[in-house]
């Protein structure tokens, strides 16, 4: 009886595992291989001094595939089941089934970075198309083929501003409404430089060019503005911001996402130098963190771009072909002088985003973006009609979400809504924030009813 078939038995009978079910060796194989390397046992091959040899146990019990799946699913079942009306920078949209089926093809999923372009044309082309999507959406000339998430992309923009010769100064200005998490990541990314992060005042994230101007001085290297804001508002004075910043040697970075960019003013048209954000609003949605950092910028910063870039070239037969390019920016070539330390990025999520965008096409994207405006407008109006609720809190154009003041207590309301199967943000003692997209709009009416009943 062969060694590994003993293991396949554990699959079904759950006798104790004696090894890895994913190592294909038969006993005969092991013997032949040991003979070939002139060893008596596998242990002999470990050149590890006895003093640091580990002979303990991890105390992790092996389990059959069936048991593991069952157990993990049961544990996940401990999560409260709730329809999420949560947003604040992390958004869910319906992902077409085709995205899963195509992205899960093992030739994509189980491949590595495309160091051998001749046998990885498929992924390279998909990433080239992803870059092209972002170029179209931002109006900027360059997009890389992925960062980890919006927060780390913001960090990378900040360090880029440090390297770019056209930019001077040590101050990085971010909106006072920036999510704490993004700010915290940014602080760590600039921690190795002379840059310091400072806030500029906004009205719940909406920038007033005059207030921004007051915060500006010669020492500002980077100004970061989000559109839409984390509070769900569409910026209405970006052109003025762009003009203000164009005059200076300041890098103007806009935070956004591919759905918003399908409808809103292109970053290029308001003078942005770079765009970062969360691109996984297409293709993945919220997944407790798994995400995709969008990164695009003007061509003048090309040599300072962090991360992978895919470029078009030709193969020996003269046919178009794709390859990773400008690798001399990267850590495996430039080491401590690289533009970033990033190596493994989020290529597969970028593939999902590209497929989702391809399924939607330009009309589908635009219509989805329009729904992101309409749905919160409608829901806010309906909530506003409830006694004790005032929504939206601020006049303005909404995208996906809005804030509402509630009486008597926002925290209590949110907690009671959880019990009813709805998740909304509590912002402070009398403010909630509600996010509505195509992913949860089917339960919006029930949310209205639930809020009415709780406040009644």
């Amino acid at each position: 009886m062969s060694y590994h078939t003993q293991l396949s038995r554990t699959e079904e009978t759950e006798t104790e595992s004696t090894g890895s079910p994913f190592a294909p060796h038969t006993e005969a194989d092991v013997e032949a291989m040991l003979r070939a390397v002139d060893a008596e046992s596998v242990e002999e091959l470990f050149d590890v001094p006895n003093s640091v040899r580990f002979d303990g146990e991890f105390g992790i019990e092996a389990a059959s595939e069936r048991e593991v799946v069952r157990s993990v699913v049961e544990t996940l079942g401990r999560n409260e089941s709730a329809t999420e009306f949560l947003g604040r920078g992390h958004y869910d949209h319906y992902v077409p089934s085709l995205v899963d089926h195509l992205a899960d093809r093992s030739e994509f999923l189980t491949s590595y970075t495309q160091y051998q372009p001749e046998i990885t044309q498929g992924f390279l082309q998909a990433l080239f198309e992803y870059q092209s999507l972002l170029v179209e959406l931002t109006g900027l000339e360059v997009a890389n083929c992925s960062m980890y998430d919006a927060a780390t992309a913001l960090g990378e923009v900040a360090t880029l501003s440090r390297r770019a010769r056209s930019v001077t100064g040590d101050r990085v200005l971010v909106p006072d409404a920036l999510r704490d998490e993004r700010r915290a990541v940014l602080e760590n990314y600039v921690g190795g430089t002379a840059l310091a992060v400072e806030e500029y005042p906004t009205a719940a994230g909406v920038v007033d060019p005059d207030d921004l101007e007051d915060a500006l001085d010669d020492d500002v290297a980077l100004v970061y503005v989000e559109n839409p804001t984390t509070t769900g508002l569409i910026q209405d004075r970006l052109e003025a911001v762009g003009e203000l910043l164009a005059a200076d040697d300041v890098l103007f970075c806009l935070g956004s996402d591919p759905i918003a960019l399908s409808l809103l003013r292109t970053p290029a048209s308001i003078g942005a130098d770079a765009v970062i954000g969360d691109a996984s609003v297409l293709g993945l949605g919220t997944a407790y963190g798994t995400s995709l950092g969008l990164f695009a910028c003007k061509e003048e910063y090309l040599r300072q771009v962090p991360g992978r870039l895919v470029g078009a070239s030709r193969d020996e037969s003269g046919r178009r072909a794709y390859t990773l390019t400008l690798q001399t920016r990267e850590q495996h070539i430039r080491r401590e002088r690289a533009t970033s330390n990033i190596c493994t990025n989020q290529a597969w999520v970028a593939l999902r985003t590209a497929i989702h965008a391809a399924v939607l096409g330009p009309d589908g994207l635009l219509d989805l973006a329009k729904e992101c405006h309409r749905l919160p407008e409608v829901l806010a109006r309906e909530l506003d009609a409830i006694e004790g609720v005032s929504a939206p809190v601020r006049d303005g154009y909404h995208f996906r979400e809005f804030r509402a003041t509630v009486e008597p207590d926002a925290t209590e309301l949110v907690s009671e809504l959880y019990a009813e199967g709805f998740a909304v943000h509590a912002i402070d003692a009398d403010t909630i924030q509600v996010c509505v997209t195509d992913a949860n709009e089917n339960r919006a009416a029930e949310l209205v009813t639930a809020i009415t009943e709780v406040l009644d």
Binding site: F58, T110, S111, E136, Y288, W348, L366
Partner: protein, 462 residues
């Protein structure tokens, strides 16, 4: 194989008109491919057929640990219960937090570390996080200014250098010894009051165990520095030795290497880090802690803050959890046994010079007179993925080869046959390669000289 770009199939420009928003808030038009679902399905199906994955054949990229990715972990990660919003309060996400906590524990035990954060979204992010922890520790000890250097062996991964630099450190490169390992004398002279940390891979990128690891640890610790373990090669040591026991203070785990989560064409991965008790207060926020059967998000006392906008690449971590549970102690131990056996066997079957040894999970063969990159291209014609080339530089024309535990003897024999066949071929044949791939040899130099990075940059005839 050739597949036109989406944009070559269709490019539709639509006017963006939306009466509900003022014109100055919206873009004017949008030009993208407008294709039907069947067309999209075929496009990406064909692209996939022009791509090589682990399920296509062997993928012995040294230092990348390309091994079989079990499919059930995908099913687990695809569960809708797994995809919750990161702003959910603790009490509404106890299942997720329990798994998160269990994985912190598993990794701690496997690495011999006292505490683990799962937040870094990739191996390099783990390095950066680890160095930030070291920095915070030195700063807390009033030693931040003085300790301005991180020492990195010349054979280390490029990320080590870059991560240390990102954290604001001067990088001191440590030359290797004649036996391919750390030169203890060179280390002693490099280490000093300025040393914040030494970053080390063990086994190193030549597949060699740093036998003097305890001595190395003493040298660094005696100087007040910290020892950082690059987990890229952990697949060689599971259950045989633990970084924590060797004296490492900080380590990262590449779950997409050691724990078989898919590489995804370049990510997402995840790069958890483990630290000693002393460094635990500096870990990123939040940590998941278990208190009376419930799980809480806790900010460590002197936390460095955050290195990712949410909880890291959670779906990848979930796959890691499922994989570790599937294998258990015996499976993990066997993983390293077979990985090391495979590397040694494969090395024994290849008719090229393979300096140094004894090898653990990988070895570096030399293409000798031949160009290693060209040698690799020719291997493509034999239907296998070639090894990592031209690195580490200590071996001339390096072919850095890591078969992993997941390859059978039959496959290793095929791989060896490919190496040996190319080794026997004349220069002309090798230079003409590859001939059987979906694209022929691709000109990377001109791609970099005049970068064309989107379909907008292509002229109609390009």
């Amino acid at each position: 194989g050739y597949e036109p770009l989406l944009s070559e199939k269709d490019r539709t420009t639509i006017d963006v008109e939306f009466e509900e928003l003022p014109d100055e808030l919206t873009r004017e038009s949008l030009e993208l491919p407008a294709l039907s679902e069947p067309e999209v399905a075929r496009h990406y199906t064909r692209l996939s057929q022009m791509n090589y994955g682990i399920d296509s054949g062997p993928y012995p990229l040294g230092s990348c640990t390309m091994k079989y990715n079990p499919k059930f972990t995908e099913d687990v990660a695809a569960r809708s219960e797994a995809a919750v919003h990161p702003d959910r309060p603790e009490e509404a996400v106890q299942g997720t937090l329990q798994l998160y906590h269990e994985l912190q524990e598993y990794l701690g035990r496997i690495g011999g570390m006292d505490a683990v954060t799962l937040q870094p979204p990739a191996g390099a992010a783990g390095e950066f996080t680890g160095i930030l922890v070291a920095k915070a520790y030195h700063e807390r000890n009033g030693d931040g200014e003085r300790r301005s250097e991180v020492i990195v062996p010349s054979s280390a991964h490029g990320t080590n250098f870059a991560s240390a630099a990102m954290a604001g450190y001067d990088v001191v490169e440590l030359p290797g010894d004649d036996d391919g390992r750390v030169d203890l004398e060179a280390l002693r002279s490099a280490v000093g009051e300025e040393t914040a940390a030494l970053m080390l891979t063990n086994p190193n990128t030549l597949g060699l165990f740093e036998r003097d690891i305890e001595e190395i640890a003493s040298v660094v610790h005696d100087a007040g520095g910290l020892l950082y373990y690059d987990g890229a090669n952990l697949n060689a040591l599971l259950g045989r030795a633990r970084p924590g026991d060797m004296g490492f203070d900080i380590m990262h785990y590449n779950v997409h290497k050691t724990f078989a989560t898919p590489h995804g064409g370049g990510g997402p991965g995840a790069g958890p880090i483990g630290v000693t008790e002393e460094l635990e207060p500096f870990l990123p926020s939040p940590q998941v802690e278990a208190r009376n059967g419930t799980y809480e998000l806790v900010e460590p006392e002197h936390s460095i803050g955050k290195v990712h906008g949410a909880m890291g690449n959670w779906l990848v971590l979930l796959k890691t959890h499922a994989y570790i549970r599937r294998l258990g102690d015996a499976g993990l131990r066997d993983t390293s046994a077979k990985a090391v056996l495979n590397a040694n066997y494969l090395a024994s079957q290849i008719d090229l010079e393979i300096p140094f040894g004894p090898f653990h999970h990988e070895f570096v063969a030399s293409a000798g007179e031949r160009d290693a990159a060209e040698f690799a291209k020719r291997m493509l014609d034999y239907g296998v993925h070639p090894p990592t080339t031209k690195w580490p530089e200590i071996v001339p024309e390096a072919l850095m080869t890591e078969p992993t535990e997941a390859e059978s003897k039959t496959t290793l024999d095929q791989l060896a046959a490919a190496f040996n066949a190319v080794a026997d071929e004349d220069e002309e044949t090798i230079a003409a390669a590859p001939e059987t791939t979906s694209a022929r040899y691709i000109d990377q130099t001109s791609a970099a000289r005049s970068p064309r990075l989107s379909w907008h940059a292509l002229s109609d005839d390009a």
